[in-house]
């Protein structure tokens, strides 16, 4: 028996097959970030920039930013837009968490207030950009949440190495964000296997 497909269904099916094929060709992007005029190549966010006409469902996982010994941990957290981040106070002293803007947009400033040790507060980051986390009683405390428009991102280790796994085949723009350096962009083409993309971040 044959089932006759309409032209619309056929197009949808062929699209799905293409996506499946692309997914099956997913590869990894890895490389090393070098720095010029910056103390360290650690804590640099590397992510695939927005893909035109492509939207991603927000992930269910809720990463945690911990406040312990009067430091935020991790120092740089990259999340996909739409991710809910939980903020845990692990200190016996009062903290608060706020960010005065997201990538300079002060309308996106937010203050989570204060909460006791052992408790969490959460916030969903829907807007791509960078939120600099601060505590208004301990000004030395600082961390960053980099909100990536795609789910393809990584943070460099202390040697500047990074690896982004399972990126569908295609041409993308790789972007960096670092605390002290300028944004670096680089075109990258992903196929099956691993593609290497070394980047340089300048102050």
């Amino acid at each position: 028996m044959y089932t006759r497909l309409s032209s619309g269904k056929a197009i949808a099916l062929s699209g799905a097959l293409l996506l499946l094929a692309a997914a099956s060709q997913a590869g990894d992007i890895k490389g090393k970030v070098s720095v010029q005029g910056i103390k360290s190549a650690e804590h640099i966010a590397v992510y695939v920039d927005a893909i035109p006409d492509k939207k991603f469902d927000p992930p269910a996982a809720k990463p945690v930013v911990d406040q312990t010994k009067m430091t935020f941990n991790p120092h740089v957290l990259v999340v996909q837009a739409g991710t809910t981040v939980e903020f845990l106070n692990n200190d016996p002293v009062g903290h608060n968490v706020y960010w005065p803007s997201i990538s300079g947009n002060k309308k996106l400033a937010h203050n989570l207030g204060t909460w006791p040790k052992g408790e969490k507060k959460s916030f969903q980051f829907n807007d791509a950009g960078v939120a600099g986390l601060l505590c208004n009683v301990h000004p030395e405390m600082n961390a960053y949440i980099v909100v990536s428009p795609t789910p393809y991102f990584a943070v460099t280790d202390k040697n500047g190495n990074y690896e982004i796994k399972n990126v569908p085949a295609g041409k993308y723009t790789l972007k960096t964000w670092s605390e002290d350096g300028k944004v670096t962009t680089q075109a990258v083409e992903v196929g099956a296997g691993t593609v290497t993309a070394d980047l340089t971040v300048k102050k």
Binding site: M70, P92, V93, G113, T114, V137, H138, E140
Partner: protein, 499 residues
């Protein structure tokens, strides 16, 4: 003359310009400030100070806990201490020295204060009498201070500050405080935490509001008030005089032993100190009279925590929608100082009068402080001074008790944090001293001083401070011999940094 007028106009203009430039340097503080505790804990000055050296609620808790974090101190220390014996050595005591520790790095901090003074015009007669004061004076007073403080393990804390240079108001150079404190001695008697501590050495009394570490450019007038009988002192042809000539200053550090505590989360504060008295000459090498008697100081206060949230009331800082802040609170208290001023021990001060003349004196006062979060505070002190006084007749060789020398005064202070880095101050000092009035210190019995000011935290460890002092009227005589009055008003502004 034209040139002089032009320069007269130019100087205040320059001062305003410099002040403006200093203000323009201001940015929101980035925070990496610093002295010994900042280095030890890797934290900013603002953790303990909203306007250094004034302490916020966390800073007070830190100080009361023997310069340690109120909870889990060890987890916050970024510079490990050097152990003077392992902890296990406690078991070997008394056959071994009880183990202690010293800071891993020398806990030294430095402070510099330099001010620019602009004085009001002096009448010609005042200048003619040798009282010339330049209209402007750059960076005088100019003070450099070394501060060392910390803890020696769980129970001992210490503090030393020494003005290397001389000249700041209330600081004539030399040692300020230098003490060792045993914290929480009361645990031996199963008392609540920090209910009983003992402090030895030289220290500013447990005053309601510190005079030595005030954020203002001038000390509180009433805490610098001495007592002098009205009329001329004996000698130089004067044969009848009052004996009260008490240089005792409540705001000056003293040598002694202090017991005190702050139970109930620091809401209740008490202290009892036995001290030499600032008017005792022994060991000071001054012309003051040495004496055997000791003075006693008592202070107690209670803070009513006005936070609505019960959890916040018991926390070190209150939780707020935009972050932790100081508790909204009302503190009331009282203090009392009793001492004796002894004179003529060697019989040389009042020739012909045998024996020591003793003038007991006391200071009694009350305090009140209202604080609204980390935004506004209003506080004040009222103090009454009473010095017994005797009338000495050098010719008759008699000493008879006469009217006491008294004064009453205080201060009211309001501070408002416009931003966390910009604080507006308003201070009113008053001293009512009939004997000072008769002795020609002031135009009226009550000396009033208004001091509006500002404090700008350029960084957490750098401040630009300013204060205009509207002085009380001071008498002087003109060429015709008439008594006139003028106000030696001043505007003082300068820099203050610590590292």
């Amino acid at each position: 003359m034209t040139v002089n007028r032009a320069s007269t106009r130019l100087v205040p203009g320059c001062i305003l310009l410099i002040t403006l430039l200093l203000v323009l340097l201001v940015k929101v503080p980035s925070g990496q400030a610093i002295p010994a505790f900042s280095r030890k804990y890797g934290t900013s000055c603002t953790t303990c100070h909203n306007n250094y050296p004034e302490l916020n609620d966390f800073g007070l808790a830190f100080k009361k806990n023997g310069f340690k974090f109120p909870k889990d101190d060890e987890t916050f220390v970024k510079q490990d201490a050097v152990l003077l014996g392992s902890k296990a050595q406690k078991e070997a005591f008394p056959e071994a020295v009880y183990p202690g520790e010293i800071p891993g790095t020398i806990p030294i901090a430095f402070r510099y204060e330099g001010n620019l003074v602009y004085s009001g015009a002096q009448p010609g007669a005042v200048i003619a009498n040798g009282g010339f004061v330049p209209r402007t004076d750059l960076f005088v007073p100019n003070t450099f201070t070394i501060i060392s403080a910390g803890s020696f393990g769980p129970n001992f804390s210490f503090w030393i500050d020494d003005d290397i240079s001389a000249g700041a108001t209330g600081a004539g150079g030399g040692l300020g405080d230098g003490w060792l404190k045993y914290n929480d001695l009361g645990h031996i008697f199963h008392l609540p935490l920090n209910a009983l501590n003992v402090r030895f050495g030289q220290f500013e009394l447990d005053l309601p509001f510190t005079n030595a570490r005030t954020p203002y450019l001038s000390g509180y007038d009433i805490l610098g008030e001495g007592a002098l009988a009205q009329g001329l002192p004996c000698g130089g042809g004067v044969v009848v005089c009052g004996t009260t000539n008490n240089p005792f200053i409540l705001g000056t550090p003293q040598r002694g032993i202090e017991f005190g505590g702050y139970p109930n989360n620091g809401n209740f504060v008490w202290s009892v100190a036995v001290v030499d008295g600032t008017n005792s000459a022994y060991g000071l090498g001054s012309a003051l009279t040495a004496r055997n008697s000791k003075d006693v100081y008592l202070h107690t206060s209670y803070q009513f925590n006005l936070e609505r949230d019960p959890e916040s009331r018991h926390a070190i800082q209150a939780a707020g929608a935009t972050g932790p802040h100081d508790h909204t609170s009302l503190r009331v208290g009282a203090f009392y100082y009793h001492g004796t001023n002894q004179q003529n021990s060697g019989g040389t001060l009042f020739p012909g009068i045998a024996g020591t003349i003793e003038d007991p004196f006391y200071r009694v006062g009350a305090e009140v402080r209202f604080k609204y979060r980390s935004k506004f505070e209003l506080y004040g002190v009222a103090l009454h001074s009473h010095d017994d006084n005797h009338l000495v007749d050098l010719e008759a060789g008699t000493v008879t008790k006469t009217n006491a020398v008294t004064s009453t005064g205080g201060f009211v202070v309001g501070n408002y944090w416009i931003f966390p880095w910009l604080i507006a101050d308003m201070r009113y000092d008053f001293v009512n001293s009939p004997s000072d009035f008769v002795n020609g210190v002031s135009e009226a019995r009550t000396r009033n001083r208004f001091s509006p000011g500002y404090q700008i935290l350029v960084r957490a460890n750098i401040k630009v401070v300013g204060e205009y002092q509207r002085h009380w009227g001071v008498p002087y005589q003109n060429a015709a011999g008439s008594t006139l009055f003028y106000r030696p008003n001043t505007f003082v502004t300068g820099i203050d940094y610590v590292f």
